[in-house]
Symmetry: C2
Subunit: 443 residues, 2 copies
Amino acid sequence: MTQLHLNLFLHDTGHHEASWRLPESDPHAHLGIEYHERLARIAEAAKFDSVFLADSPVLWGQVGRRPSGKLEPTLLLAALARATSRIGLIATASTTYNDPFNLSRRFSSLDHISGGRAGWNVVTTAGDDAARNFGLDGQPAHFDRYERADEFLHVAKKLWDSWDDDAIVADKERGVHAEADRVHTVDHEGRYFRVRGPLNVPRSPQGHPVLVQAGSSEDGKGFAARHAEAVFTAQQTLAEAKAFYADIKDRARTAGRDPDHVKVLPGLVPVIGATEAEALAADAELDRLIVAEYARGQLAKLLRVDPESLELDRPLPADLPSEDEIEGAKSRYTLVVELARREELTVRELIGRLGGGRGHKTFAGTPEQVADTIEHWFREGAADGFNIMPAVLPSGLELFATEVVPILRQRGLFRTEYTGTTLRDHYGLPRPANPFSRSLAVV
Amino acid sequence: MTQLHLNLFLHDTGHHEASWRLPESDPHAHLGIEYHERLARIAEAAKFDSVFLADSPVLWGQVGRRPSGKLEPTLLLAALARATSRIGLIATASTTYNDPFNLSRRFSSLDHISGGRAGWNVVTTAGDDAARNFGLDGQPAHFDRYERADEFLHVAKKLWDSWDDDAIVADKERGVHAEADRVHTVDHEGRYFRVRGPLNVPRSPQGHPVLVQAGSSEDGKGFAARHAEAVFTAQQTLAEAKAFYADIKDRARTAGRDPDHVKVLPGLVPVIGATEAEALAADAELDRLIVAEYARGQLAKLLRVDPESLELDRPLPADLPSEDEIEGAKSRYTLVVELARREELTVRELIGRLGGGRGHKTFAGTPEQVADTIEHWFREGAADGFNIMPAVLPSGLELFATEVVPILRQRGLFRTEYTGTTLRDHYGLPRPANPFSRSLAVV
């Protein structure tokens, strides 16, 4: 039987925004490399497919609210590569605020350093605040960001393929290190980029890093269908998750790709207790620690409204903008508004729901109940696996690894050992052929 | 007595271009992280101040000639940070082909990950080939590159200072992680950059990474006087090295800085033998392995002449361009031409001299003789220390560590133990005060 995939979404003291306020939490953990090594090792011991770091080139949110400011993910994962030996390492990086030569090289380097365990979560970076760190007055339009992302990926793939796999011959006798006719310029000239190449790193163990994507807007899903090999998504209900899953697989098929080579991984925020009552109490304690003023400001920013218009004990205002008017984080916007309307939540209740998982599905229960939910979504065709986002770290990860993973194994749903060495092996993804390759040309 | 500083310049199988052809050399070493860890550990065991990686965002030179294509240095050093605990870690990065927000963040992250051991060798990146990887037809003019570098450093320093050292209070009771009034936008608007800030990483252990510079043109020396805390330089003779040393210190003084806070480190390529004859034989064997055609092509590129105009057994042609006509790598150009003229070298002899150290001083001799040269240059006021560039790695480093370093210690010239934990501690450099800092403002 096909087994499911598990990714650990690393997020300082946990995904719940108040997790840092718990007595057990180290509020300086986000800057500590040993802490991240510890988490990655726990995930690797539990045979997770990968760990993942979100990112944006801007100081995001209010600095009082929770640990903010993050180590740059490609560097952090280069360090984690040496504390682990099998688990995949996925970093977020922006196509809007990087250029293809340098960023392609960083991911190729991470793939070399990790022995074939690199993944890139491709984002286009919404928000005017980020734009203002890069000489712009405001963010480029949603469509333009995705058009640039498409061209960026096109260039990146050419650069990763600019060395044949067999370019290095290391012939000491002849004094030829690499064969010049196996290293190619890319000579790209497009709307956004002109790049000559070749890349200054030989082709990496995986050929390309695994490409991950997490936008769920129309542009985002189209991009995923063309490029993504794994999709992170926020889904609140089984019905919506199944529809999203089917949509992504259809789009991949339409784009001429094997739908099995696009893994769909909804986010899950488990809050685990020995009993359901214990889990619910832990969840309630976390929500109690949310500072409402911070959360209201953040929610107002997402909704593009004045914070004063959000009254804590009343529903969202009726006159919110439509998704079409939102330029960035479109799908997050719609998810939040629909969640509030569907469940008739007050602003305070909505803040509680978002504080735990920022729109991802929070599930408080026993290990058995968490495993049941995972199995149900997996068997119903809503997921190829899950993006596990513990509300509290490291304790939530430790509980998941020791209590939930063994149940998934008993049910035959999850591996007991790694069978391969690369991230592509873990996710069951093929290594991309090199279109430049001499051997192909000769056939 | 003041002691000297030692930096290890990491360079795959060694600085001699033919080193990879020796039986002992692993020609795949440049892509191997374990190999770099081994070198860094040897250097740390010998109490070197730092290791250093050169870099350029372009595939440089002919791929047949020697190992080419390199792992991106900030990622490589993030990995090395976890294999070492005291030695400094200096990466090269270009101000011409990066933007200040992302690059400042990478160096701040490296400083956090390494516990205060990061250094940045600031380069402006000469050459049309690099320019063509970034949408340009050819390199920006020398002056423009340095003007951009100046503004880049100005922005980077503001970003590194955008969090007060005491911004994070982690007050769980009040629910305040960092104090908002201790985190500042930078609001930079200049000729090359507009950057709002703040940086999305809190201030790092060293405040700023140690700033290193290696250009010896007029623009380069001016830049060094304003910003550099260590200067790498290629000097062939004691007289020239003394003049350069005095010039840099004078310029620093004129710029209002303490000249002791700009360390001058000439490159030294030691080829060590048990006897002088053995060392000279090893050197000759390396030169014999140089493929003359590769080297002639590279020399022709540096000199901006047709390779055919360089006859192997004749001197350089008389009608070479003047330094003023050279747009990039000016000082390297002049050094090579002067070396050939002064010593009346044929093209073949010049290639031998350059093959070993690319213009840096090669010295073949016994450990005692190498130590004598180091002591002589140090005492004569030509150097605060040396950028050690073993012709062959790891063997040349091992010999230097086990044979030369103990002699320097016996003479009281080099440390027996680290006395501090940061790169600034090792080089005797102050931690930059934060001009934004609340505590300063209150005084």
